[in-house]
């Protein structure tokens, strides 16, 4: 069989292989033994990773190599995080490694984490009883994080949307690598010199080892010593750090921390609407009450007047009756008669009745002429 028109060039083949490999295989953790590690003056590292049956070429670019520290010694068992690819110039399948962790150090890290955790637990730093509630309306917030990271941008974005009355004080600290622990501790101490209501300790998501600073005793104790309530927003939803346990509140992400930290402006505007409604209703209620009271008062006045009048009327009647009883006309009614001299004097004594003298007898319905008989 002879070659046809459909002959591939080497470049076409390696390009196609690269597409397949890089399209199909994601970034992954691979476990193996390091062999033939070379650190080039350019800063890149090249080595192979092998197990009992196979091996794969690995390269680690300058920046990642710098971050990893010292090149691994041959024979070290490691975990590497890498993206499989094809190096087209040589047609080689290789793993582009971004992180390398000796398997033994994972064990050591785990041990160290447990040691610190036990210590802090013993000192009561994880106690629920020492958790402080977050202020309802925080207006000044300290944010301890890397100024270069996504965390600070996320917090600013959420704060601007949610509660723009707030002031954010950003305290920069590296959150991973050399110096991170010291910088975080220093920044947390500075928080105590600021007039703030709340402190957020934040970091974006990343690899687990990058959380190391947030699992150190020094950072945890510095966080516990912050005088205002604290929120730890370190790592991602699945990662938990010791600072998450020490802080008063743990947030899954920096954005979530800002949401927990700040009131919602829309909510408060609604609350103001509600207060406005109650204010209006309160006043009209109060006015109605006053009117009712006024009405009741005048009712009471009227009725007390009536009582008074009635009492007076009865009193008048009683007095009238007494007056009547005293009236001589009433006495005459009962059949008595009053002798009256022609000059109008009432004759009360025997001596006043002289024989033959005329007088008048006043009786109920008038008077009658009368004369004293001679004895």
């Amino acid at each position: 069989m002879a070659p046809t028109d459909a002959v591939w060039s080497v470049s076409q083949l390696t390009a196609a292989a690269k597409r397949v490999v890089e399209g199909e295989l994601p970034r992954m953790w691979v476990r193996g033994e390091v062999v033939g590690c070379k650190a080039w003056p350019s800063g890149h590292w090249y080595f192979s990773l092998r197990d009992a049956a196979s091996q794969v070429r690995c390269c680690m670019w300058k920046l990642d190599a710098q971050r990893a520290g010292k090149p691994p010694v041959d024979g070290t068992e490691v975990f590497v995080l890498g993206k499989p690819g094809i190096y087209e110039a040589k047609g080689e399948f290789q793993l582009n490694v971004s992180r390398i962790i000796p398997t033994a150090s994972i064990g050591r890290q785990h041990q160290e984490l447990e040691r610190v955790k036990t210590l802090l637990q013993k000192d009561g730093l994880f106690e629920l009883a020492r958790k402080r509630p977050l202020p309802e309306y925080a207006s000044a917030i300290a944010v301890v994080t890397s100024r270069a990271g996504a965390a600070v941008r996320d917090i600013i974005t959420v704060s601007r949307k949610r509660w723009p009355c707030a002031r954010l004080f950003v305290l920069h600290a590296r959150v991973q690598g050399d110096g991170a622990v010291d910088e975080l501790v220093r920044a947390l101490r500075v928080v105590n010199r600021l007039e703030v209501d709340l402190c957020i300790l934040a970091r974006g998501g990343g690899d687990k080892e990058d959380l190391a600073a947030f699992n150190t005793e020094a950072v945890c104790r510095a966080l516990a010593a912050v005088r205002v309530p604290t929120i730890s927003a370190v790592g991602h939803e699945i990662d938990i750090s010791l600072t998450d346990l020490v802080a008063d509140v743990r947030a899954a992400t920096p954005s979530a921390a800002a949401e927990l930290a700040l009131a919602d402006r829309r909510e408060v505007l609604r609350q103001l609407d509600d207060l406005a409604g109650r204010l209006g209703a309160g006043l009209s209620g109060r006015t109605r009450l006053a009117a009712e009271r006024l009405e009741r008062t005048s009712d009471r006045m009227q009725s007390s007047m009536a009582v008074l009048l009635e009492r007076h009327r009865r009193q008048l009647e009683r007095l009238g009756a007494q007056l009547d009883a005293l009236s001589p006309l009433r006495v005459l009614d009962r059949g008595y008669a009053v002798p009256v001299a022609p000059d109008g004097r009432v004759l009360k004594r025997r001596a006043e009745f002289l024989p033959g003298k005329p007088f008048r007898l006043r009786i109920a319905d008038g008077d009658v002429p009368a004369r004293v008989e001679p004895e």
């Binding site: 601007r160 505007l269 009450l289």
Partner: protein, 71 residues
């Protein structure tokens, strides 16, 4: 300047007093006026607010310096 929390607390107090029976009509009117003023001010304050972001830097001598920071 009072905080929003203080404003809300005062407004709540005003409304409560207005809602209670033992406030004189004159006092009620004064409270109402105060409440309306505070409500308006609080609303304006909330709507006009702009987030302030400042970087805090510790200088060599230990003094703190703040610098405006853009989000």
């Amino acid at each position: 300047m009072t905080t929003i929390a203080e404003e809300l607390a005062r407004l709540e107090e005003i409304v409560r007093r207005l809602e209670s029976d033992d406030v004189e009509l004159d006092a009620a009117l004064t409270l109402f006026e105060e409440g309306v003023g505070r409500l308006r001010a609080a609303r304006e304050r909330l709507l006009a607010a702009e987030l302030q972001v400042q970087a805090v830097l510790e200088e060599a001598g230990g003094d703190l310096r703040t610098a405006h920071l853009d989000g």
